[in-house]
């Protein structure tokens, strides 16, 4: 981790990585979306709406993984005072909030024809909505701290405390009787969804994850460039 503490070393890796992640992400996401829309058959029960599954699960994963990244950056900042940790946390927050919001939107769109309602205050939906609001709080707090010239430690603490919501989201379908279905997909096998419906999911998940990482790297590069510019302007003003 500390090998990347030097922004110049980080940028040397981040520049080619951004292009690679963009290319791989666009190709895999496009293949997964094409598979979901045009190749897989309709489900015997849900009909055509089962095609929403790959994009809904991918956005849910990224909404949660984004906060996981914020929590990891927060630990790195609080414990090791890693110089890029606060920048990484801020860079992940906006795409994380976007994908958490997209998870809620696609879930709502899927819920209307499947459950007969756009929204239900059940454990999974409510805990995901709380995650979305946590993102908004983190974005506001981190921006305010940065504006005041702070190190972002309050935002890091908020990021760490907010991680408590992640297991609540994951286990909500087990802890409470909810309208949302229980766990039906397992990496270790034993998924209750037919493989012919499921194969676009890994493509969209990896594709959107690569795009998320590319966006986060671009936002980190933006902030590093702005910091560099601000430092130069301060030096020129002092001379």
């Amino acid at each position: 981790m500390h090998a990347f503490a030097n922004p110049a070393r980080f940028l040397k890796i981040a520049r080619p990585a951004t292009a690679w992640l963009l290319g791989i992400g666009l190709a895999l996401a496009a293949a997964g979306i094409a598979g979901a829309l045009f190749v897989i058959p309709p489900d015997y029960l849900q009909g055509e709406t089962v095609r929403i599954l790959p994009v809904h699960v991918s956005t849910a994963w990224l909404g949660m993984a984004g906060w996981g990244a914020i929590a990891a950056a927060s630990i790195s900042q609080i414990v090791w005072r890693h110089p890029l940790a606060a920048i990484a946390g801020r860079a992940v927050a906006v795409p994380g909030a976007t994908f958490a919001g997209l998870c809620l939107a696609t879930g709502s769109i899927w819920g209307r024809p499947t459950w007969g309602t756009w929204w239900e205050w059940d454990g999974r939906l409510t805990s995901m909505l709380i995650l979305f609001f946590l993102y908004l709080g983190y974005i506001g707090l981190a921006a305010a701290e940065r504006e005041r010239g702070g190190e972002g430690r309050m935002a890091a603490l908020f990021g760490l405390v907010g991680a408590v919501n992640l297991p609540i989201i994951h286990y909500s379908v087990l802890w409470w009787r909810t309208l949302h279905q229980g766990q039906s997909i397992s990496i270790a096998g034993g998924s209750t969804i037919a493989p012919e419906l499921l194969w676009p999911l890994p493509l969209t998940m990896i594709g959107f994850t690569a795009l998320f990482a590319a966006i986060a790297l671009m936002r980190m590069r933006t902030e590093l460039a702005r910091m560099k510019l601000e430092a130069r302007l301060r030096r020129s003003a002092a001379e």
Binding site: A36, T49, T59, P113, I215, R221, T222, L229, R232
Partner: protein
């Protein structure tokens, strides 16, 4: 109720939001890096 309208709405909102986020981040990065390089002495 046409199920395809829900499917297309779900994909439409995700694709449009992702592309907006990508393009906004790309433009902001190019602008910031050009501005930082422009002040180099």
């Amino acid at each position: 109720m046409n199920q395809w309208s829900f499917v297309l709405a779900a994909y439409g909102v995700v694709i449009i939001a992702t592309l907006i986020l990508l393009l906004a981040s790309w433009r902001a990065m190019l602008g910031a890096e050009a501005a930082a390089a422009g002040t180099r002495r």
